[in-house]
Amino acid sequence: MSGAVDIRGVAKVFGTFTALQRVSLSIEDNEFFTLLGPSGCGKTTLLRLIAGFETVTEGEILLFGQNIANLEPNQRPVNTVFQQYALFPHMSVLENVAFGLKMKGMDAPSRTKRAGEMLEMVHLSDFANRAPAQLSGGQQQRVALARALAPQPKVLLLDEPLSALDLKLRQAMRLELKQLQQDTGITFIFVTHDQEEALTMSNRIAVMRAGQVQQIGTPREIYEAPVNRFVADFIGETNLLEVDVAAIVDGQAQVVLPGGFQITCPSATAEAGRHHLSIRPERMTLVPVGSGLEATVQNIVYLGTDLQVMVRLDGGADMQLRIQNAARVQVPAPGTRVGLHLEEGAARLLAD
């Protein structure tokens, strides 16, 4: 059995630059799948390879079991929402949405009807006869979505479609996109460098770096069980401490923190030795001194909903923790000795 899209050993080389190094991953049908990573990690290249705008140097791309790697873009039943929308400026909104249907040979009355329905779905029926340039950024975004969904593609590709919108609109569109994916049942492959976008919308995320997939998993897995330093650092905020590990038993590592305090935490590796330890700032709380791990408060940063507390462990390691800015919270002054409590899942030993 194969999924909606199977990427098998796909490599892409531009001249001397290797954009993708034999990437393999499988995307399920009806999944909201996100390719996440910093710029230059190969996520957009992978999307363009699926769309057919680039040709693979090596490997296969299977769409519901059929290898499409050598097909022209117009022969692939996938459609794309472009970063800057790429709406045709010389056509009306309705003509834009009907374009794909026209190219597929649908007759004029049917495609006008279908395009009208698509515009209704994105709440833009009143704008059918406008030129794209007369619409706001958010409206253009919806037209681009309607245009790409109108021919009922098997997979919808989205190339950082929200990056051109302002913050409020971006947040609203996240929910709308997710809803749209659930309503249409079409597989969405979404490319972004914004980890928050990825976490809020995706069923699964592939974190990429330098042309390679680092980790694939649900948002919770990616955030709570990162495999390496890159993933832990890229997704959310974290404290990374270099530690020595004596032994790992049944996936649990015995770790000695700087200052001598020992904890037991889940591990992404089975090998003892020198590793990095990730401790999520929001999974630590301040407790009275004398119950275990101790530190000195260095600084407090006011973030509105949260407070960021910078502390130094007795062994010299700097860490930060996040506490909610609730009314009952007592803010320690810089220089105060505090106790730190690590909640369940706060710490995790990484592979590198």
């Binding site: 705008f53 800057q84 790429a86 374009f99 021919p151």
Partner: protein
């Protein structure tokens, strides 16, 4: 300290007036005297349209009509064909990705702009003679197509450069073939540049004298060569009328070319 505008430099006004005078006074004089009622080309004898009438009905009228017809058909064909070639060249230069000899190709396309016209004229004539090609209408047309290409190329390439590649990608993504993506999406977006290039090529072809004179062969005339032939036998006021009409056509086309090119907003994605 704010930089002073060039307008405030001493002597600016004087130099500007001098340049404009040298450039435009002869044109203005010819325009005015084309409406002269007198047979003299130096004395003003009142306003009249007699020389315009003479151009269309006078003894030389058939010769000039034939020359004008040749000029017009050659200009239409040469601008049309060179625009198609220039469009193809622009697509190859800007949309085909990097290829070996790209800079060389660019230089070759634009070389006719740099090479002295007389050199092109002489070498074209020699070439036609060497291959025993009968000079006449066809040789003029071929020569015109050749030197019109860079003039058509420049506005077309400038326009194409400003069009984001994602439009074509979007069209291809939405099931358009290569041809459909070009004719339905890219060409309409390029249209202002293409029209501008064609108009420019048209005027360049219509105006050309040197190359045409070399490759036209005996008995074949275009408007500029006919005017030259006529002037050799003494300047008649009718020539001024023809020149004024050509000037009007040139101004009209160049203005159109400019306006069309400016009208289309730069098309960048987003």
């Amino acid at each position: 300290m704010a930089l002073r505008s060039v307008r405030h430099y001493p002597g600016f006004a004087g130099v500007a007036v001098l340049c404009l005078t040298i450039l435009y006074v002869p044109l203005i004089v010819v325009m005015i005297y084309s409406f002269n009622a007198s047979t003299s080309i130096t004395n003003w004898g009142g306003f009249s349209l007699r020389w315009y009438g003479e151009v269309f009905t006078g003894p030389d009228a058939p010769r000039f009509k034939a020359a004008a017809w040749n000029s017009l058909t050659i200009a239409v064909l040469a601008s049309g064909i060179s625009t198609v070639i220039a469009t193809a060249a622009a697509l190859a230069m800007l949309r085909a990705g990097a290829f070996r000899g790209r800079s060389l190709t660019f230089a070759l396309i634009n070389l006719p702009l740099m090479v002295p016209e007389i050199v092109i004229a002489v070498s074209t004539l020699i070439f036609f003679t060497m291959i025993s090609f009968q000079t006449g209408y066809l040789t003029i047309l071929i020569a015109h197509i050749t030197f019109c290409i860079p003039f058509a190329y420049l506005p077309i390439a400038a326009r194409l450069q400003g069009i984001d590649g994602s439009y074509e990608a979007a069209a291809r993504d939405l099931y358009a073939t290569r041809a459909q993506a070009f004719f339905l999406v890219l060409l309409p977006l390029m249209a202002p540049g293409v029209i501008s290039g064609a108009l420019l090529a048209f005027i360049i072809s219509l105006d050309d004298f040197i190359i045409t004179n070399f490759v036209k062969g005996a008995g074949m005339e275009t408007l500029p060569t006919a005017i030259y032939g006529s002037v050799k036998q003494g300047i008649k006021p009718g020539i001024m009328a023809i020149s004024t009409m050509m000037l009007a056509v040139s101004i009209l086309f160049v203005t159109l070319s400019y306006l069309i090119n400016r009208k289309g907003r730069p098309v960048t994605s987003g």
